[in-house]
Amino acid sequence: MEKKNVPQDKSALSGYTRDVCYVKNKDGKYEKALSTGWEVKAEALGNAWDDIHNRVEEAKIAVKNGKKSPIYYFFELKLMDMHVISGYTGFWSFTIKRHMKPHVFKKLSNRKLQKYADAFDISLEELKNFNG
């Protein structure tokens, strides 16, 4: 890539930082250049977030309809996967999947629920009272 072609598009980096790119200068030698973003990848990131928002919305509806427990909703909201939630709570993924069922969730002790609340950075009340 030549230095004059470094994209300076709007992106999610704005107000935080700029991207270092390695580019060819006028003499054909490599040097560093800063880029505010590239719409090609900004669009890819935007699509990934749209997908996340869809998943969160679906999770919300599933909780509302009594299909899933609030744990499932916050799990999606906090972009987690089984490795991550298992790491933060110390529960096995088999157990976590059970806790995502509403009838199992209702019987969970405050001690167990607190582990989830801590993992999600929310209060115990928020976790208990979420109903979609």
Binding site: M1, A12, L13, G15, Y16, T17, R18, D19, V20, C21, Y22, V23, K24, K29, Y30, K32, L34, W38, E39, V40, K41, E43, A44, L45, N47, A48, W49, D51, L79, M80, D81, H83, V84, S86, G87, Y88
Partner: protein
């Protein structure tokens, strides 16, 4: 009287494309290895790679990487330059903080592996559960907060003890476990040693790109991805196929790669290396080839973006993406074959 309880270390923040290269470069420069640069760190560490792990998905998309395993660049670069490294993990959070404080009191700069999900100064849309990020902690301020140099940021940042604790003990894949690392016993590095390191780094990268076993790794792995891309439209449907292509582009171009899936960074390394070998023509030619590969990666991203923006919808558009990838695979194979024949003497 001076109120600060900790010595202030003279330290210049260095912004680089990639975090691990950045920490490596900064720490080695700080210890007097003045010639250190990001491309050198990347090349000495044999950082370039390609892998598309079949059947496993990450963040609901394909598992693709353009670089070698986290941690290996720092390890290999230091080893090549005869620098000993201290690396320590913790199971207890308080011990982890005490250890760090002790190092700061000694005036030592330390590298720290962290997760980015809870990193407050990071752009919010980049905060995923990615745990192999690297930062330098270079001191404490009067309020007891930690001074942080994050190589992908333009300026330095400050983290409270709690904030730092949280990112050092992030959970999930590649959990950092409070990991700290720093060079010890850094002596002067001779040009001969550096040249030996360059030769070794190139050899290692030749091996990784040409001879690594498995149809999905090294430069042949790019052809595996090409084959997958041809199938995605029918197999996954347009929407999901678009998300998969988007994931390739993000892994390839997002913050930390220097553009073109680290290819420009590697080309810069070969160019810089040539200057240590009397402007070796073969190295410069290989650098040009890798630059060409990088440019093709950018072209491929533009083509893929056409698809995930919904502008291109035909199977032929997927096929074109795939054929660019196949061309890249050939170009990279050729470049590394040239490098494998290279006769350099330190």
């Amino acid at each position: 009287m001076d109120k600060t309880t900790t010595p202030t270390v003279k330290f210049n923040h260095l912004q680089t494309a990639h975090c691990e290269n950045g920490v490596t470069t900064s720490l080695l420069q700080h210890h007097g290895i003045d010639f250190m640069s990001e491309p050198l760190a990347f090349g000495l560490g044999a950082g370039l790679f390609y892998i598309h792990v079949p059947l496993i998905t990450v963040l609901n998309g394909p598992f693709i990487s353009f670089r070698t395993l986290p941690g290996t660049i720092f390890k290999r670069t230091c080893k090549a330059l005869g620098v000993k490294v201290e690396r320590i993990k913790f199971s207890n959070k308080n011990t982890a903080q005490d250890y760090l404080d002790k190092q700061i009191e000694k005036g030592r700069l330390v590298g720290s592996q962290v997760g980015v999900f809870h990193l407050p100064y990071f752009p919010p849309e980049y905060r995923f559960h990615f745990n192999a990020h690297n930062i330098i902690i270079y001191g404490k301020d009067q309020e007891g907060n930690y001074l942080v140099s994050d190589p992908v940021m333009e300026t330095t940042n400050v983290l409270t003890p709690n904030e730092l604790q949280k990112v050092r003990f992030a959970q999930g894949p590649l959990a950092p476990k409070g990991q700290l690392y720093y060079p010890v016993n850094v002596s002067k590095v001779s040009t001969d040693l550096l040249k030996k390191g360059i030769i070794k780094g190139i050899k290692r990268n030749v091996r990784d790109m040409l001879y690594i076993p498995g149809f999905f790794a090294g430069s042949k792995g790019i052809k595996f991805t090409a084959g997958q891309v041809r199938k995605w439209r029918d197999k996954l449907g347009q929407r999901k196929a678009g998300l998969y292509l988007g994931q390739i582009v993000r892994m390839q171009e997002e913050i930390g790669t220097g553009g073109g899936g680290f290819r420009f960074l590697y080309a810069a390394f070969l160019e810089e290396s040539a200057s240590y070998f009397d402007g070796n023509e073969e190295l410069l030619k290989a650098s040009e080839q890798i630059t060409k590969a990088g440019d093709l990666w950018r072209d491929s991203a533009v083509q893929m973006a056409g698809i995930y923006k919904g502008r291109l919808t035909e199977q032929s558009d997927y096929n074109l993406s795939a054929s660019i990838l196949e061309e890249i695979s050939n170009v990279e194979q050729q470049a590394f074959r040239q490098l494998s024949k290279l006769k350099l003497s330190s």
